[in-house]
């Protein structure tokens, strides 16, 4: 275990509160906010995993998630606003 993997474990563990907020959220906007936080944590966790395991190719996963979570959030917020006012 190195510090990168410890930081990775922290980021993965912090997704649990985000999941709890999503499960217990009274409104869909709470779920959207918690999902946004979870996606940011997942990007960081993949980055730490790539560095902790000394596999630079794993950085591509983190980059792909960072780029793809952007349109995903935009679409989710758009449809949330349009269909569930």
């Amino acid at each position: 275990m190195n510090p990168w993997l410890w930081a990775d474990i922290v980021c993965v563990a912090l997704m649990i509160p985000c999941g709890l907020v999503i499960l217990r959220g009274a409104r869909l906007t709470d779920c959207l906010v918690a999902g946004q936080m979870a996606s940011m944590l997942a990007v960081l966790a993949l980055m730490f995993l790539a560095e902790g395991t000394h596999r630079p190719s794993f950085y591509e996963l983190s980059l792909a998630l960072a780029l793809l979570s952007f349109p995903a959030t935009l679409l989710f917020a758009h449809f949330l606003e349009m269909w569930w006012p």
Partner: protein, 104 residues
Amino acid sequence: MKHPILTCLFLGGAAAMALLACLGLMLMRGAAARFHFVGAAALLAPPLALAAVLTEEGLSQAGITAILIVAAILLQGPVVAHVVARAIHTHEAAGPPSHHKEQQ
């Protein structure tokens, strides 16, 4: 590790920011209040993580990819904040959800 103490400091800072943001996410009431903590985490934690990677790797392939990742997060932040805040505003203006109205 080239600078282990510095790397651990940056990593600990990034993890602490994420931890504080998650605490705020759980403790606050309302999506707007929660979203402030997400915004703070998205602004502070990725640059600290990038600093840790650059301290370890320098401008290697991994370092440049990490710069791209953090640039993507920081550049999309304002747009995401605007869109999510607008969705929250629309929902809060519409009042409580229908199943809550039925319970009342």
